[in-house]
Amino acid sequence: MNAIARIGGRRRDRVQVDKVTLAHGSGGKAMKDLIDDVFVSAFDNPILAPLDDHASIDLAELAAQGDRLAFTTDGFVVDPLFFPGGDIGKLAVCGTVNDLAVGGATPLYLSCAAIIEEGCPVELLRRVARSMADAAREAGVRIVTGDTKIVPHGLCDKLYLTTSGVGVIQAGLSLDARSVEPGDVVLVNGPFGDHGATILAARGDLALDAPIASDCAPLNGLIAAMLAANRGIRFMRDATRGGVATVLNEIADSSSVEIVIDESALPVREETKGFCELLGLDPLYLANEGKLVVVAPAGSADALLAAMRSHPLGAEACAIGRVGGFREPRVMMRTSLGGMRIVDMLIGDQLPRIC
């Protein structure tokens, strides 16, 4: 992004054509105009402003907030790009913010790389960039560096985004999936499965009009409130791909414990439940973009639940199960009828059943 700052003048609407062409990836003026018009005008902040090849961040400022740097990256290829409750831009910011926050880090700075398909409408890019800027503002982070590449028509599906992020972990805070112990309680911050169901419904090939919206949200505010109320949390993870069931299995494996969840305690919205029943899907395995699985000692659970419920993104928080004991690592479910069954990892995608 170097040199653009020197161009000066009005950034927005510098691109006069409707669609991105290969010329916008050439490194010349067309590329600079696209970056300036679409991204710089939306992300506008003092660290980005010099438009050097990298962002320059003051170390002392970071060190004042904690003693370890957290660093993460994530790619985003969602179809469709826009869906009820969010879009690829909001996802790209929230996804990386959440990956930092669940480790106990305060997310601070993000990068954004965009792979754009030739022919992609410029207005679509502006919309995505504005959405990223809004999400970054909500999360209190800044997008401080980036990159764009244009690929020929058909070599990617309109737009792929990659965001990386850095944050700082407070001194003394240690969240570790291996620290989970028998008797601990498993909490979630609200109904799960909405994002996965929304994306499936929004693809439009189901001819189903489900009144479901993605839960896509930055969780760092909620997590900060939880840590302020009680630092006894053993571990937390956002339940994205693979859903709550996959996170629980990962915890069981890491700590070699059995986790027992209670089917009647699982929060799933009626709309999502109905959608899943129709298609033979299990909401436990559907992706979320704003849901946390938290493991905490029984003594901390009430304080944590109260802190979660006092935050808008945790208003429907609840306990869903307990850590049973050190034995064969697995996740069991006490079904609504009183039977017991295993909740395993998925092998591939969930496939809708035929009847």
Partner: protein, 339 residues
């Protein structure tokens, strides 16, 4: 034995087996239409899907069933245009939208899904759609129950009859189970309470020395079935002399095909498929599991050579397959999943 894969799925999902006294053993029958599809038919499906210009449409759970060369999922990765649809009408819409392509629907399932395929073909005929056809693998449950009852190693004391199939065909076709084979049969719903009540109804018949056909699912299943659905099936299809089932071999009159008047919608005639019979893998004991002679973990290759990642037999593929359900929900296996 429950003969319906939907029941198998519910039993595992709600952990019903562990709640029953040890003297009651649930045997999971051949009611998963994806599971009983023989390898050769998958090869035929792949051959059609790989023809240039073809859009091959299928229900989701058929896409991972292994063929002798590859599954539909692998064929898709190799470039075939294979799409998951949720009803045959979706496939017909694709044919409308792509007049220059041949759209083929993978017709699968028992009497539950037959009417929707038949009605779609009738609609295609009415709308004069020329680029739509069905690769018909529909099968019928009654001859298969009879084949199981005729099996010399039979050890089934009673049956749960399929709920959705019976919604179409009614309860009369099962009369022979009670009359000739003296086994109770209770048509059951899919909620866990339905299944438990149906098991109780079978036990009551055994205790009273009766063998009758009873209908626990009467809120959905009419005694006479669904006349418009049966009419649509009858007008489009006729019985095949025999059809091959994975694990069970060839069963007389257990499959259906298009009547000659609808031959132009028949993908088998339209594309001259290879139609090669492929023997089940020697180590695979799907047949014994399907007949209830073996429980899934008793199969030689269960959980070792045959897992949901690398299924040898189709019972391991679909979530309704007895082996996949057992593997996934019962945990009678070494755990191999890493964090």
């Amino acid at each position: 034995m429950e003969v319906c894969g939907g029941h198998t799925h519910s039993m595992f999902r709600y952990g019903l087996e562990g709640m029953l006294p040890g003297s009651i053993e649930l045997v999971h029958g051949p009611g998963c239409p994806v599971c009983v599809l023989p390898t050769g038919r998958i090869d035929d499906a792949v051959a059609i899907a790989e023809r240039p210009g073809v859009i091959f449409t299928t229900f989701g759970d058929a896409i991972r069933v292994p063929g002798s060369r590859k599954s539909l999922l692998q064929a898709k990765a190799d470039g075939a245009d294979i799409r998951i649809v949720y009803s045959p009408m979706d496939a017909l819409s694709l044919a409308h939208a792509n007049p220059g392509r041949e759209v083929v629907f993978f017709g699968l399932g028992f009497e539950t899904t037959m009417p929707s395929t038949a009605l779609t073909v009738l609609e295609a005929e009415r709308a004069a759609v020329g680029n739509f056809s069905v690769f018909c693998n529909h099968i019928t449950i009654v001859p298969t129950i009879k084949a199981i009852l005729d099996s010399p190693d039979l050890r089934i004391d009673g049956f749960l009859g399929p709920g959705h199939v019976s919604m179409v065909i009614g309860t009369a076709p099962y009369a022979f189970v009670a009359r000739h084979y003296r086994r109770p049969l209770v048509v059951s719903g899919f909620e866990p309470i339905d299944i438990l009540q149906s098991i109780w109804m079978v036990l009551r018949q055994i205790a009273e020395g009766r063998a009758d056909v009873e209908n626990q699912y009467s809120r959905i299943v009419p005694e006479d079935g669904n006349a418009p659905a049966l009419t649509a099936i009858g007008s489009v299809y006729e019985l095949r002399e025999f059809f091959e089932w994975r694990g069970l071999g060839s069963i007389d009159h257990s499959g259906i095909r298009f009547r000659d008047t609808y031959a132009r919608f028949d993908a088998e005639r339209r594309f001259a498929v290879p139609n090669v019979r492929i023997a089940d893998p020697k180590s695979c004991q799907c047949g014994e599991v399907l007949k209830g002679v073996l429980r899934p973990p008793q199969c030689k290759v269960f959980g070792t050579a045959c897992t949901p990642e690398t299924p040898l037999g189709a019972l391991m593929v679909s979530s309704e397959g007895a082996c996949a359900a057992h593997y996934r929900y019962s945990g009678a296996r070494p755990r191999q999943v890493a964090a």
